[in-house]
Amino acid sequence: MNISTNVKSTWCPGCPNFMILAGVKKALENSGKKQNEMVIVSGIGCHAKIFDYLNLPGLNSLHGRVPPVCFGLKMGNPNLSVLGFSGDGDAYAEGLEHTIHSARYNSNWIYIVHNNQVFSLTTGQPTPTTEIGYKDKTTPLGVKTFPLNPIKLMLASGASFVARVFADIQQVENVIKEALKHKGFCFIEILQPCLIFHPETLKYKNKIYDLQKSGHKKQDFQAAMKKVEEFDYNEIKSDTKIPVGIFYQVQKPIFEEQFPQLQKLGPLGWKGIKR
């Protein structure tokens, strides 16, 4: 299966989004799922261009509203494999409430957040995960607020699968493969340095270490809460280490499995119901 399109990419040369796209393609093309069983949703920002580069159905939606669209797709047809792509602006600013409630609902879909810690498509304004002191033309006095730790937030909100990876083909492919096996809401944050507006985060590449290889027990909530404290998104010191991989994974009741109406639906979902 090939899920590429012939649309010419408009990401900047060398953008880590290319790595993410390649990882997503490898994971999906080898997933054993049919093209019409997989659906993608994107928000607004550089990440959202991925919608045009994947030959899969879905919706290139509004800023911040990826989670409710994904949730709605599952309610319309629970048999679909749904992947939502967001930026940090979508997931942590404009649509933060949806991110939290998605963790709480535990509907079976995958939320992938491309976190470059900056609004890039609008030319470099700070987001809720930008570090203190960051300056751009709109913030000449510098950012004054401490960045949000999204992994900690997702753990606190009850997400049943919480992961973070770097924008590396292999890491992206592996984590999506794991997420496709998981039943319930999967939160995956991808650290994706923006070469134009936030290039200092390229340093992350040499700071990351693999949680699973280091013996982290992903079913241990307390251990996960400790691990999220190791990196605060604000400062990269010489001894900073950024854990990547699956922080937490546990089986919880799945939203759609608790509604008898949805359990009865066939492969087409409600579309297949004739009245």
């Binding site: 919706l59 047809n77 509604f259 009865k264």
Partner: protein, 496 residues
């Protein structure tokens, strides 16, 4: 004959249930009943009242003058006794609500078994209710009205229930809503029947999630409806715009209450016609349908499903608190049409996109997409002509013409009895039936609306070029519905 009974008391004392029991019993006897609720935004205490009007001929509204006042507390007596008719009767004293049911049934010469039947159907607290009802029935000595079986087959209908019924009959698959008065009764009604009728009802975290989830479900091919009121609808407008560009079928139930902002939550108004017609940025096709009674609630909800699926557009059913929460008795049988599921999962886009759903900034494509959206508007206008977009009542070809829309219909129908005037009710607000121009020409036009700025008046001027004189606008904007007797006087003043 036309009797007005007012039930008043504190929230929690149960004036609602009294009226519903009597209304049900009267309708079974073949009487026409109109029953409305006036309640405050609180759960216990305060002052709530319900007015039940009944007659042996069709009625659609309440009057201001009271024949029987049932006062469950002293406050009710204080507030409403000034509106009593000369021979009016006040039922009061410290009693349970069903005691008053007993007295009322006796007063109207309804036999006790009729009441017993209603109490049985209530199920809750049957023994206790029966005891209180018996006591009231025994203690009442007067009778004012001999109710006898009229042999009419009448349905006791509520606006919210008929909206729900219309959605179910149209093949509803998923209903999303966030609680907000006065749209909540539809949420409650649909939630209750979801297993029996096999559809899904969900309450996401806010109205933004409601509309975006609805769009997600709709692109899988499901038939989807959402419900809200003013403030909630404001939050949905970006989503509405996305449904517009992406070509997603969506039925939006919008139940009006007085704004701006939180306004007056539990009262009534027709202030949201303009926002229903214009909500959402950019230019895209939509429909706005405004029912004036429960049968129309059912029919127009059904038509909203038909048009939204056929043209892949958002379609708004514009209701208000008065129609959503009042009970009507009507004889008509609604006409229901079938609609197809037209959506297949593909690439949908909130950006301008190619026919493959790929985002585009190409000028030719942008122009083409706009023309396609315009074409939908024209096609819808054409097809809508086959539907009942407006209705005429009253005296045909009178030189006087009342124009209105939505829930004011009931009070107008009752108010113009015997008057030299025609009444034109508009049901399709978008697309607007421009042919009504033929009725408006050279007429003394009287506009009646439950808002402060005459929004239908503005729309008529926009679409037909006809101006309605300010002195001929009867506008009520105190959160209350029109009452037939008061409206009758206002209309008379303006007749030629």
């Amino acid at each position: 004959m036309r009797y007005n009974i007012l039930f008043g008391g504190q929230a929690g004392q149960g004036p609602n249930i009294l009226g519903e029991i009597l209304g049900e019993a009267l309708v079974k006897q073949g009487y026409y009943v109109f029953y409305s609720r006036d309640y405050q935004s609180l759960i216990r205490g305060g002052h709530n009242f319900n007015v039940l009007t009944f007659s042996d001929s069709p009625i659609h509204s309440n009057d201001s003058k009271i024949d029987v006042l049932v006062a469950l507390d002293e406050n009710t007596k204080k507030i409403h006794s000034t509106k009593m008719k000369k021979e009016g009767i006040i039922l009061d004293g410290k009693h349970e609500n069903m005691y008053f049911a007993g007295r009322l049934f006796k007063l109207l010469c309804l036999d006790f078994e009729t009441l017993n039947q209603e109490l049985r159907e209530l199920k809750k607290k049957y023994e206790e209710n029966l005891k209180n009802a018996k006591l009231g029935y025994e203690e009442e000595t007067k009778n004012i009205c001999h109710v006898k079986n009229q042999k009419n087959k009448i349905y006791f209908l509520n606006g919210s229930k008929e909206i729900s019924q219309g959605a179910i009959e149209s093949g509803l698959d998923v209903y999303y809503a966030y609680p907000m008065t006065p749209a909540t009764p539809v949420l409650r009604e649909l939630a209750e029947k979801q297993i029996e009728k096999n559809y899904l009802v969900l309450e996401p975290e806010n109205e933004i999630a409601v509309i975006n989830s609805a769009i997600g479900s709709a692109i899988t091919g499901a038939k989807v409806m959402i419900g809200t009121s003013g403030g909630g609808f404001d939050l949905m407008t970006e989503g509405l715009s996305m449904a517009g560009i992406a070509g997603v079928p969506l039925v939006v139930y919008l139940a009006q209450r007085p704004g701006p902002a939180s306004g007056v939550p539990t009262y009534t108004a027709q202030g949201d016609l303009n926002i229903a017609r214009h909500a959402g940025h950019g230019e895209f096709p939509r429909m706005v349908l405004a029912p004036g009674d429960p049968i129309e609630c059912r029919e127009l909800t059904n038509q909203a499903f038909y048009f939204s699926q056929k043209y892949k557009i958002p379609c708004i059913v514009l209701n208000d608190k008065h129609l959503a929460e009042s009970f009507y008795s009507l004889k008509e049988i609604p006409k229901i049409i079938k609609s197809q599921k037209t959506i297949s999962l593909g690439k949908f886009n909130s950006y301008e996109s190619t026919s493959e759903g790929i985002s585009t900034e190409d000028s030719k494509r942008i122009e083409k997409n706009n023309i396609e959206r315009l074409k939908k508007v024209w096609d819808i206008e054409k097809e809508a002509e086959k539907f009942i977009q407006y209705k005429n009542f009253g005296k045909k070809n009178s030189k006087n013409l009342i124009v209105s829309w939505g829930s004011t219909k009931g009070a107008i129908l009752d108010a113009i009895q015997g008057l030299d005037t025609e009444f034109l009710q508009i049901l399709y607000m978008e697309p607007f039936p421009k042919e009504i121009l033929k009725f408006l020409k050279n007429k003394n036009i009287i506009l009646i609306e439950n808002n402060a700025t005459a929004q239908l008046g503005q729309l008529i001027t926009e679409k037909t070029g006809i101006f309605i004189e300010d002195k001929n606008k009867i506008l009520r904007f105190d959160g209350r519905p029109f009452l037939a007797d008061e409206l009758n006087l206002e209309v008379k003043k303006r007749l030629n």
